[in-house]
Amino acid sequence: MTTEELERDLERLAEPREADERLRLAIRARLGEQTLVRPRRRLKPRLGFGWAAVAAAATTAAIVVLGWPGGSAAPSAADAAIIRHALQAVTLPANSIVHVKEIGVQDGTPVAAEWWQQMSPPHALRMIKGPVGRQEETADDATTSFQYDAATNTVVETPASTAPALVDPIAGVREQLARGDAQVAGTATIDGKTMYKIELPTGVVAYFDTTDYRPMYLDNPQRDGSVVRTRVVTYEELPMTPDNAKLLSIPTQHPDARVLTQSAPTK
């Protein structure tokens, strides 16, 4: 037996197992109870403690000690860290394009939405969404709205009076995580993968990767009481290069399409 084989066998003894997550949560819960039993001391204000020099997780912990924005029930340090990192993962630089693709099933019909949107004003966007096979492609660059009809290969242009808001599918999640109203509801396993489950005040439940905190799934409550679960297939930041900017434009994506220009709709 070589040293490498021996090392591999040793590592195998300690390798993670399926039930580890359950154990992690069970011990965590026990520790949580133990922390409640211990007498809590009031934190004295400390200036010049050197927090700036410590790791992000420690900073998060300090934030929790000193007060959690927007709520009396402060999340635990670990939960606050999860929310903080989830927020970081969905917060993209101003001069970039967010690209999101999500798929799901609504009323028994597969639906999909793909989105490209500028993170900073004028928030130009292009999206393709709707039931699979009958999707609509629209775009808006703040001066003109575009609609593409694949059946006739036609682009309909309409003057736009207002710039679009930041409405990518993760925009609401981003906003509520930043507001401090979100709550970590432990972990959930979907399709065999364990994820952080974060509940938002709007009723939306977002699931994040436990390693890089990418958004993985969204549970969207519907007016009829049902919940539509969408899987976030793609969530990425694209730099605002000339090539990527073309993704925001319907005329550029369909250069051979016939263009019809409509007048602005009357109010």
């Binding site: 040293t3 195998r12 922390t35 934190l43 927090w51 912990a61 000690v65 340090a77 905190y213």
Partner: protein, 189 residues
């Protein structure tokens, strides 16, 4: 990527400031912050324990004991060494306590597997049992180093920071331990 920082134990390097110092200080004031330390070290402590104890249920109990002890005794941690070093010393003591108890053999294979699976699992468990037995024949200090390296997945410089040795010396000691272990575990495929 910074995003991973919350789940992964930070790298410990000799003579550098303990990267857990701020969290430890905060946890002394607000015990719930200890959960952030727990999240950092759960996988590593569990791995450490698994390398030194064969029985799965005992591993779980010991891992739980390590963290409940650490939380209860956090006030006694003086910060002379790193938090990680202190935590793994608690783990080492907890493992020692188990080894002092009368031995309980792990349960046999679980039912519900097909025959080829059963045979494969049996062989894998036999092999693991032999390796565990060989590890247990090493000196406690050697087991401790081995478990930090292959159970907790610590780098040589991290182990060096914990045991107060330079990474080169740790590497040499580890090499000798592996050689000794190989003599005791003459496994051929």
């Amino acid at each position: 990527m910074e995003l991973k920082a919350v789940r992964e134990a930070p790298t410990l390097r000799a003579r550098e400031v303990d990267p857990d110092a701020a969290l430890v200080a905060a946890a002394r004031e607000e015990p719930r912050i200890f959960l952030a330390l727990y999240d950092r070290y759960f996988d590593r402590v569990l791995g450490y324990v698994r390398l030194r104890i064969r029985d799965a249920a005992t591993c779980e109990d010991v891992t739980s004991t390590v963290f409940t002890t650490a939380l209860a005794q956090l006030g006694r941690f003086r910060g002379d060494g790193s938090f990680a070093g202190w935590l793994f010393q608690i783990a080492r003591n907890a493992v020692r306590d188990v080894h002092r108890r009368p031995r309980v053999e792990p349960l046999p294979l679980e039912a519900g597997c097909s025959e080829p699976d059963l045979e494969e699992q049996f062989l894998a468990r036999e092999r693991a049992a032999q390796l565990h037995a060989a590890v247990c024949l090493l000196k406690p200090e050697q087991q401790h180093l081995l478990a930090m390296r292959y159970g907790a997945g610590l780098a040589f410089d991290e182990i060096g920071a914990i045991v107060g040795a330079n990474p080169g010396a740790v590497r040499v000691r580890m090499h000798r331990i592996l050689e000794e272990l190989r003599r005791r575990y003459p496994h051929d495929d």
